[in-house]
């Protein structure tokens, strides 16, 4: 049966995340972006909502089972508040979720509880690489087996909190396959570069990271000897980013709409002009349509269907939606939309990043 209604538990979670997004993220977003820094308490409060903890089984320190659908519902609500903060709050999932999905029993028992049972700490993933044609299925970072270790070489970018990270999950190619390795902070051969300067998500500190003959013991390879299946992990990050994009776009619509009813030209609200009203209608339609695409891909992950294509298309649709809708929001506000006092220009900067952000969140 088709159904488009979140269940009771999901509704409660959404409400809690929405409250946090409205009261905490929204109020902090502007200053955080300007300062290039997120208040720790803000992140900790978000972590305290327990979105990730609720999707990790008790055996590994959590209190529930993973549901990608619940994950995307929470991600949308958080993305609505502020993308940079949402990425920070959800950051440990980029480390924990691949471990949950692809780790051996021993790895899960060893690596998950320290993340899940503690307060928020930067457990991070090094996924994206600094090349224009970066493709997760064909990374340039390599891992070569050398006796009883792997040697990692390559460069990563957009690694959040790398400077203060507890540990990294580094993706690298092994025999043509994308694999991942757990690497503790301060490992020899791992160099953290300068903090990156990005167009958006300015409050999220990100870094380039270099691997130069970085030695990784065999048992730190995710999934053990035979490795892990990358495709569900990739799908998971694609739907997560797509869900965040839905949140960002919805935020832009929710801001532009009342503004359009307030702002008058020639004595009537601009919303009464079709040029504006139609834009708003298109924004709303787009958000609703892409949201369903994201939900469907997440649902497929939950019921164990092959979801690679759907997750890819969800992110494909979401990145176009985010760009179009945030741009339209700026347009609705006119020149005022260009001024940093209004949040729409930030959402437009963030929106453009969606197509690049796969790897920065997981559900």
């Amino acid at each position: 049966m088709y159904s488009f209604e979140p269940d009771e538990e999901q509704r409660m979670l959404i409400e809690a995340v929405e409250r946090y997004a409205t009261n905490d993220l929204r109020t902090a977003a502007h200053d955080a972006d300007e300062a290039g820094e997120l208040p720790v308490e803000l992140i900790e409060k978000g972590w305290g909502l327990g979105v990730l903890q609720a999707s990790i089984p008790e055996a590994y320190g959590g209190f529930g089972d993973r549901s990608a659908v619940t994950g995307v519902l929470a991600a949308e609500a958080m993305g609505w508040g502020d993308l940079a903060s949402a990425l920070a709050v959800m950051l440990p999932a980029t480390y924990a979720m691949p471990v949950l999905l692809g780790g051996t029993e021993e790895q899960k028992t060893r690596w998950l509880p320290p993340v899940i049972e503690a307060e928020w700490k930067p457990y991070v993933a090094a996924f994206i690489e600094p090349s224009f044609d970066f493709y997760a299925g064909d990374m340039r970072t390599t891992a070569k087996k050398n006796g009883d270790v792997y040697l990692l070489n390559g460069e990563k970018a957009y690694v959040p909190f790398a400077e203060t990270a507890e540990a990294f999950l580094i993706y690298a190619v092994v025999d043509g396959q994308t694999q991942a390795f757990i690497v503790p902070a301060g490992a020899e051969g791992l160099t953290i570069g300068e903090r990156e300067k990005l167009m958006g998500i300015g409050a999220l500190p990100t870094y380039q990271v270099k691997m130069d003959d970085l030695l990784v013991p065999l048992e730190s390879k995710l999934g053990g000897e035979q490795g892990f299946d990358f495709s569900p992990v990739l799908a998971s990050t694609q739907v997560a980013i797509a869900a965040l994009a839905v949140g960002v776009s919805k935020a832009a619509l929710d801001y532009a709409l009342p503004y359009a009813k307030e702002r008058e030209v020639w004595g009537v609200p601009i919303a009464q002009k079709q040029a504006i009203a139609f834009m708003l209608a298109e924004m709303a339609t787009e958000v609703e349509a892409i949201r369903l695409l994201v939900w469907e891909a997440a649902w497929m992950l939950d019921v164990g269907k092959e979801a690679s294509k759907e997750a890819y298309m969800a992110l494909n649709g979401a990145s176009d939606m985010a760009m179009t809708v945030t741009d339209q929001a700026v347009q609705v506000l006119g020149g005022h939309g260009y001024i940093r006092e209004h949040p729409v220009e930030l959402w437009m900067r963030n929106g453009r990043g969606i197509s690049t952000f796969a790897g920065l969140a997981m559900v």
Binding site: Y2, P6, D133, Q272, L292, E310, G317
Partner: protein, 410 residues
């Protein structure tokens, strides 16, 4: 619980429809495009028999008398059927007997007795059709507010006068079968929209004449006609809704709107069917030239063709999901006006864009009448026009989200 599981019973229906589309529609699609106004009786008779055997006299969902097991699926099932049959051929689909827009209006606005009476014509031995006539020469989008066709009460009859245009299947309903047409007329011209009501006019009623058969860009298998009503008398009970015009109340008018909440997603479903046909065809033609689509790659590594196809598929899937949601809401008896218009807007955009691109991508082949792509391009456009143009449905969405009345946003 959010779920995208296609119900088994709908899956079975869809498979059946696909067989019909493949065998009864695709092979004759070109022929009926080139022989406008010729009636596809083979398809019609086949569908009539098939639906009798399936135990459905009409493809319009009925208020089941039987106790339901599980959730209502009627509208969702219908969306899947229409999508698939339009994938077969949307012109031929519009010739399907057993209930069209006329039935939809009766279902939305009629009493149980009226439903019983008017829809029973579809359960006979011979295939019958129905139609819905709202548009008039002077106004389409402005309907129903601008209805000029009048209905004047005369004892236990209504006397209708006026002209309707662009009536889909009007010829089949009135001339080629013993069907009916729902005529929107005003019982009180001074009352504006509040005075507008749907009336059932059955085939053979004196004073109701089909006066013109249109020649069209596409969906040529489907007849589109003008109907003139000249002192056309129908029984009093053929009025649906209240015979009174209450001040400040637009109840009779709401019947029309209820119809559109049900039918707009169906047009969206049809649009999606045509878009899917075009997209699948392009992919297949490319495959024959050993060009596959490499899903998963970033845009920077895709060819232009791949990118176009992936973007169109993305748009198609999201539009389809929106359509299913609108129909799911209808089945759940929840308000769906906004979703109905949203999916109609997007489906209109989708099918126009996809078919335009399909012809462009396939170049000289796309433009050639050897293939169906150019036909789908012509068929597509109607979906952005009838049941509210893209603009009108944008207006509806905009009014709803802005909480504006017609006066505040028109």
């Amino acid at each position: 619980m959010i779920s995208f599981e296609m119900p088994e019973s709908i899956r079975k229906t869809a498979v059946l429809m696909e067989t019909i589309a493949d065998n009864m529609m695709r092979p004759v699609a070109r022929y009926f495009d080139e022989h406008e106004h010729e009636i596809p009786w083979d398809y019609i008779n086949f569908m009539h028999e098939a639906m009798k055997q399936m135990g459905v006299g009409s493809i319009t969902p009925k208020e089941g008398k039987k106790k339901r097991k599980g959730p209502r699926l009627g509208f969702q099932r219908q969306a899947f059927m229409l999508e698939m049959l339009s994938w077969g051929d949307s012109g031929l689909f519009l010739c399907t007997p057993g209930g069209g827009l006329g039935s939809a209006t009766v279902l939305a606005a009629g009493t149980p007795e009226q439903k019983e009476r008017f829809l029973s014509c579809h359960t006979g031995d011979k295939p019958t059709f129905d139609a819905m006539a709202l548009t008039e020469p002077h106004a389409g989008s402005a309907m129903p507010a601008e209805v000029r066709t009048t209905a004047v009460r005369d004892g236990d009859e209504w006397v209708l006068n006026g002209e309707k245009i662009f009536v889909t299947a009007g010829h089949k309903a009135l001339v080629d079968s013993d069907g009916f047409v729902v005529i929107w007329a005003t019982i009180d011209p001074a009352a504006g929209r509040a005075g507008v009501r749907p009336f059932v006019v059955e085939a053979g009623t004196p004073g109701c004449t089909v006066t013109k058969l249109e020649h069209k860009l596409g969906i040529r298998a489907s007849d589109t006609v003008s109907i003139v009503l000249q002192d056309c008398r129908v029984p009093f009970e053929n009025l649906m809704g209240s015979p009174e015009v209450k001040k400040k109340k637009t109840k009779g008018f709401k019947g029309a709107m209820a119809t559109f909440d049900a039918t707009r997603p169906l047009i969206a479903a049809m649009a999606v069917g045509v878009a899917r046909a075009a997209l699948e065809s392009v992919k297949q033609m490319l495959e024959e030239h050993e060009i596959g689509i490499r899903y998963g790659l970033p845009r920077s590594r895709l060819t232009n063709i791949e990118r176009e196809i992936i973007d169109m598929e993305t748009m198609l899937r999201s539009t389809w999901l929106l359509t299913i949601k609108a129909m799911w809401l209808a089945d759940e008896r929840k308000p769906n006006t906004i979703e109905a218009s949203m999916c109609k807007v997007r489906a209109g955009d989708l099918v126009v864009k996809v078919t335009q691109r399909a012809v462009e991508i396939m170049g000289p082949l796309g433009y050639s009448r050897e293939y169906l792509l150019e036909k789908w391009f012509r068929d597509a456009k109607i979906n952005d026009l009838y049941e509210g143009t893209g603009q009108i449905n944008r207006l509806i969405v905009a009014r709803r989200i802005l909480d504006y009345s017609r006066h505040e946003l028109s």
